[in-house]
Symmetry: C2
Subunit: 237 residues, 2 copies
Amino acid sequence: MPIEAIEPRRLYRQVADHLRDLIDRGEYKVGERLPTERELSEKLGISRPTVREALIALEVEHRVRIRVGSGIYVTEPPAQSPILVGPAEGPFELLRARAFIESAIAAEAATLVTQADINAMDHLLDAMERSSDAGTKAMVGLDRQFHQTIASIVGNGIILRFAGDLFDQRINPYFQRLSGHFETADTWRAAVDEHRAIRDAIASRDPGAASAAMRHHLQQSQHRFSTSFEEEAASPG
Amino acid sequence: MPIEAIEPRRLYRQVADHLRDLIDRGEYKVGERLPTERELSEKLGISRPTVREALIALEVEHRVRIRVGSGIYVTEPPAQSPILVGPAEGPFELLRARAFIESAIAAEAATLVTQADINAMDHLLDAMERSSDAGTKAMVGLDRQFHQTIASIVGNGIILRFAGDLFDQRINPYFQRLSGHFETADTWRAAVDEHRAIRDAIASRDPGAASAAMRHHLQQSQHRFSTSFEEEAASPG
DNA sequence: TCGGCCATTTGGTCTGACCAATTGACCGAC
DNA sequence: GTCGGTCAATTGGTCAGACCAAATGGCCGA
């Protein structure tokens, strides 16, 4: 390992780290205003230019937003998972990508599945059965967990993460605004039944059936999505 | 779309953008030193604190490295494609992920391929035939282009980009240091033959054969990679 | 109730000073 | 000829204080 220069922590960096830590710990929440430059300078016992340097670092990191004459406001931290959907791609491209990868995963899972995997799927399906009135957040969590359980059978962290990111991208605020009908009892019932069909196909170690069941599930899911997408598109607001 | 405050370009931001542009255009190359703070202040007709603010922005973006008493050095820009390999994952995880996705792509391509796609694959294989002594960079480019041509048959930008990123991650400097034997005439010949077998399976619209041919190709490629990986691991330096 | 005015507060940029790390030249010892 | 020490110059780091411009909030008259 080549010897590298040991760089001392610069004051602006220390201050930026300190402020970021305060934000991360909840001392200052998103939308709240930080103390003014002069206040920070006084409190921290450092010069105002150095405070400004620290704030610029946080601005570049998209942690704060500086408004002339108004103040320094905490912003929503940038998304942790990568943005997979390019600028020219819409929600359907994402759904088709997901259908493709998830059906390939289901086929592969059907060749590698163990009894422990089947038990894990059963456990999740039981939890889904009991959750028809659990609320959107819990239902989405269970849905994600079921798909991640299948993806984990493949035994590859990169594929697992990619499938998880595709799922997450589906429920980011933009997509959520377009789709608001997943959480009805009927659609949940249908989703659980489709999940069970996937489980059965994987458990019977039939790659073709597993792939087809997953495609069918995601097509149905897409249909439920499209219905609400077209409803949203037809009614401006 | 909610009305947002129109924020005027701050001077430090303008200066940072200008310097980044100079770097991107090759005026200052990686490793080179930028003019000193005082020189930039004089040349740009702005104060030294404002120059410092701009340099801090570039430092946070990982475009420059500032060394006290020495100067400001241009650094390698951060990777454009997302880092797909997690900290706990090694090169084999990446290769297995790639084998999984590329074989699924080949199977799907076999169901969707058109004559134009086949022509494109043939065109690339001809170029590869003629390039056995073209140098590593050109060979890698052709290899990537062949795999991207197949991936584009699937008709999904997200899958295309993911496959491309997996390929690129394979040839980042770390992996390149581990593998230095791809570019021999024999290994190139073998790769071209394997590519041709993939083309034939896709052209014959046989998903099973296409998937198997792609798996075989990547397994052979992995074997060639492993051979040099183990050589590197066995001989420290 | 609303618009105009004004003082205050806020961030933006600047000048100039001084401190500390690095660099390069020079010189003497070996 | 090489190496280590010294020193001056150059470089980035931090600071104090000043002044400018945008935003905010209070007050007042229509």
